[in-house]
């Protein structure tokens, strides 16, 4: 494990944050090559409050946890859901919730047979590998649904348009972002309602053995929430709903 939060503060004054940059609007890469997005900007605010400089590192999702464990990164912000399984992990701690979100379906704008999420029954639906929608769909529909797993959102949306799948199971925030950019898509609302799974909240992740950092981040989050800054950020990046 790397140096503790306190040591970090004392020595470099920089907090290193890992993100994937592939989940707009939460984390994304601008055309200038810089990382940005709701999660990223939120982290900047938190670091400001903690009087730390930030250094963002763009990595594959599978690389984030080993990096955290090895002390490469102090924090992960990558649109991660606060799931019970992750909360139980021995390696990491999740912060207090940042924003709310829920799983739903993204379909083509002209889609008529899927009007609500329940209509996914019997259809072919795309999910992202490792996302929570996988299990969600399996739990609700059992064998009455065909699930195709993609490496990323861009691929499943391409295939939705290609006609290989009928819908994409996806979180609402990300889906809205795509709908905003692309008139050929629409997102279903309300989404899935499954206790403890959807709706859910997002959170930031720090290592288990940095309790002071977790504490500090949570305090900052509370401050941002109370001052309305969080809501403003949310409005800027995610929109009013």
């Amino acid at each position: 494990a790397g140096p503790s939060y306190a040591e970090k503060l004392a020595t470099s004054g920089t907090i290193t944050i890992a993100t994937t940059g592939n989940a707009p609007p939460m984390t994304t890469v601008g055309t200038d090559g810089k990382l940005t997005g709701f999660d990223v900007e939120l982290c900047r605010r938190i670091a400001e409050g903690l009087e730390l400089k930030t250094e963002f590192v763009r990595v594959d999702f599978s690389a984030t946890i080993p990096g955290l464990k090895a002390g490469r990164f102090d924090m992960i912000c990558s649109a991660t859901a606060r799931t019970p399984q992750r909360l139980a992990s021995p390696d990491l701690s999740m912060s207090e919730p940042t924003i709310e979100n829920f799983s739903t379906l993204l379909v083509k704008a002209g889609e008529t047979t899927i009007a609500t999420v329940a209509d996914a029954k019997g259809k072919t639906v795309g999910t992202v590998r490792g996302g929570q929608e996988n299990k969600l769909l399996a739990d609700i529909f059992g064998s009455d649904i065909t699930i195709t797993t993609y490496p990323g959102i861009a691929e499943e949306i391409l295939d939705l348009k290609n006609g290989r799948i009928d819908a994409v199971a996806i979180n609402y925030v990300t889906a809205s972002q795509h709908v905003k950019d692309d008139a050929a898509l629409k997102v279903l609302k309300p989404g899935f309602a499954v206790d403890g799974v959807s709706p859910y909240t997002h959170a930031l992740i720090v290592s288990r053995n940095q309790p002071e950092l977790l504490e500090a981040v949570n305090t900052e989050l509370k401050r941002l929430k109370d001052s309305g800054e969080l809501a403003a950020l949310e409005k800027e990046w995610i929109g009013g709903n």
Partner: protein
């Protein structure tokens, strides 16, 4: 289309950086691995059989272990041993680890391709090993190895795309960044593929040209 053109114009410096990273990774690991591969080859030829066996086991492990795992091991392993190295350094270490095995195999096979009669002749003339190696064997090994060497180097270049896993931004990950910020996925992947193709074809053509020139000389 014009949106695309702006995207390309905006993206040029970013792709430039990615290309530079890929090049640095390729060039450094290629140079180091060539050196180490040649060294291993010498060890394998000169040293005792049991050492040769070790070399072979290393070579086999380095070639079958997925590069991603090696990247992780180098990147996070170094931190755990209390010495954090930069992502680029870690990538270079991982690449050198498996590319050395690639090149070793090529050099070894090329060495076998040098006609044996010349070794006898050198011994019969009482030529010391070092001048014989540098003056006769190495030039011929280079000539035999040139083709396979460049072939494997193009593979190595394509594998640089894996380095993004440990935050070295390169061509493929830059393309996917654009995709996630709204560019057409097909277009961006095609552009990335185009970059790889152009550079690799240039490498292969260069090798063909040099070989032909050497043959004519």
């Amino acid at each position: 289309m014009s949106a695309f053109m702006t995207a390309v114009a905006d993206g040029f410096p970013v792709f430039g950086q990615a290309l530079l990273n890929a090049f640095i990774l390729l060039a450094t690991s290629c140079v180091l691995s060539t050196f180490l591969g040649a060294l291993l080859c010498v060890v394998d030829i000169c040293a005792h059989r049991s050492v040769g066996l070790l070399v072979r086991i290393y070579s086999w492990l380095a070639q079958t272990t997925p590069p991603l795992i090696l990247l992780f091991l180098a990147f996070y392993g170094s931190t755990m041993m209390g010495r954090a190295i930069s992502p680029m350094t870690a990538a270079i270490i991982a690449f050198v680890f498996f590319a050395t095995a690639y090149y070793f195999e090529i050099f070894r096979a090329s060495y076998e391709g040098v006609p044996r009669g010349q070794f006898e002749a050198a011994r019969a003339l009482g030529i010391p090993p070092l001048p014989f190696a540098t003056g006769v064997v190495v030039p011929q090994v280079i000539r035999i190895a040139a083709g396979p060497f460049v072939g494997r180097t193009t593979v190595l270049f394509k594998e640089t795309s894996l380095a993004s896993a440990i935050s070295v931004s390169e061509i493929m990950s830059t393309a996917s960044a654009y995709i996630y910020s709204g560019a057409s996925p097909l277009l961006m992947v095609a552009i990335a593929g185009g970059i790889y193709a152009v550079i690799n074809i240039a490498l292969i053509a260069l090798e063909k040209h040099l070989t032909r020139k050497a043959a004519a000389a």
